[in-house]
């Protein structure tokens, strides 16, 4: 029940923010009957309605309702940590270049998954980065990000 209430509140916030952003859409001289704001406004209103109904239903339903079922397995902080490793790849690749950034990523993920550091981890990271570099840059001919340093 609590999870559905939080879900309802978040959806309501998204609907409100989206609506505010909708008001910033420029008016065009080429505008048709509906205009570029038409669908976004309807979507914001519909999402707000759905969010309210989810919230009300969570309040009136029994505490042991199905709404508390979850498919999530990892703790949310751990999951966000994994995402942060991916996010760090962006600035690191911009500075250190593709090969080094990817090797660091392949090293960081097992370390984050609590794997004991070993020479094998470094070898897998170096081998993995080389494999992907060969696959994308050499075989497919797609230049991966070049860093400021390398």
């Amino acid at each position: 029940m609590r999870r559905d209430l939080v879900c309802s509140a978040i959806l309501l916030c998204i609907a409100a923010l989206y609506y505010v952003a909708t008001t910033g859409i420029q008016v065009s001289t080429l505008e048709d009957e509906v205009g570029p704001r038409g669908l976004p406004t309807v979507l914001a209103a519909l999402l707000a309605m759905v969010a309210i109904i989810i919230g009300v239903r969570a309040l009136v339903s029994s505490p042991a309702g199905a709404g508390d079922e979850t498919e999530a397995e990892a703790h949310w902080l751990r999951a966000i940590g994994m995402l942060a490793i991916g996010a760090l790849y962006i600035p690191v690749a911009s500075v250190l270049g593709y090969w080094l950034a990817l090797a660091l990523l392949i090293l960081a993920v097992p370390a984050y998954e609590r794997m004991k550091p070993s020479w094998r981890m470094f070898a897998v990271a170096a081998g993995g980065a080389t494999f992907f570099w060969l696959l994308f840059d050499v075989v497919l001919g797609v230049r991966q990000p070049e860093g400021i340093l390398f």
Partner: protein, 498 residues
Amino acid sequence: MDQFAQALTMLVTTPVVPAALAGLIWGILGGAMPGLSASITMALLLPFTYTLAPMPAIVMLATCYIGAEYGGSIPAILIRTPGTNAAAATVLDGYEMNRQGRAGEALGISLWSGVVGGLFGLTMLIMLTEPLSRLALLFKPTTYFGLGILGLSVIASLSSKSLLKGLAAALLGLMIATIGTDPISGVSRFTFGTPDLLDGIQPLFIMVGLYAVTELMMRSGVASKIMKPNASIRVRLPRFPMMKKIARSQAIGCTVGTLEGLMPGAGGTIASFIAYNEAKRWSKHPEKFGHGSEEGVAGPEAANNTVASASLIPLLSFGIPASNSGAVLLGGLLIHGLLPGPRLFEQNADVITGLYVGSFVADIAQVIIGILVLPLCIWLVNRPKPYLSAFIFALVLSGVYTVHMSLFDVGIVLSAGLLGYFMKYFGLPFLPAVLGVVLGVKLIESNYRRSLVLSGGDFGIFLEDPIAIAFFALAAIIMIGSLVNEWRAARARKASLA
């Protein structure tokens, strides 16, 4: 006859065979890895197809789906962990056969049933798709708008336990689709001065983020309880008496798979469980089911492989995908500027013929490839999970970069992953969101506004089109039915608690 000759020529003059084999191998390997569903395996392949010509790209994605359905049965039989959701029913008897020392036989039955199911599904696909797509010639902008609403409401109702959550997910997808340049007036919407957003957000990035990045986040820190399969197991294809014995079960699987493949939101998982139950009901030895019955492996495997081809029928005819994997394939079509419907058959006949030929090649080659790549699958399943996660992450980040050679796209994919994590956390299904992103502006908004431009702003135009009215009515019936079911389930839950 002309088409047959064209298909034969295609085998030698185009890259259809290598594309089909590459997609098949990729699909088997991805499907064999527990946690990677068919749609995730396809989503990981999607960025690679961006650099290919439309025909091999679509062939690769479709055959990847075929391969993933067989691949999913490998860990289901060997370690009681289905590689894909659709292989869950295979665990019941497949793993029992393994415990009785008949793992090779179970894998052989799974492989053979996959071939039978795949070929049957392909026959249905070839027979039904084009005639159905001709119906779409009668469609006007109002009809397309009605079809979009029907597609979204069916998916929202069927792909989730809660209609409201399905609708919320669809609305989130539609909201993402509105980012970029307005298709009618050319005004930019929700770009916040960022040039990278002017072309909108590619559905590809949302799919890779939702399916692949979310899965990596979900698995983070979760201890792997997967058993280690025996590396010495080899596939044993069934001999003629066994083929005869499992034929009835396969026929049931093929029928169920075709019907489920046609229904949006149903997919291979439901098909394989229904096929299992029906095969048991019609079997001469129902008591053997659950204790290592060969028919118990054949039915579900034939069903989920039939779905892989049959689910392309509504996708290619009307642009409405029946499953997550179908949605990824639709994304692949759109990336290459291919719009499903009758025009696809007229203007891009080579893509359609290539798809048929590629699927046929993959179905046949599955027998050999399935045997050859088994040791590699077992080796992959035995790798430490953290390394697999690291390599998948590296593949996602590198693959996405290849699309526009932009790190901004990598950021979009990671954001979609974050959205996907919270959607899973709150029980919002992915498929309606993906469908919202894919169909949002192209099918729903454009046709809605075009209809009103045609009528001079008169909303009555939607009531002048009988097919559109039928679509709206069907959408309303499905949604009301879904709400009633939910209400009944809630009442039953309350009664059981009291």
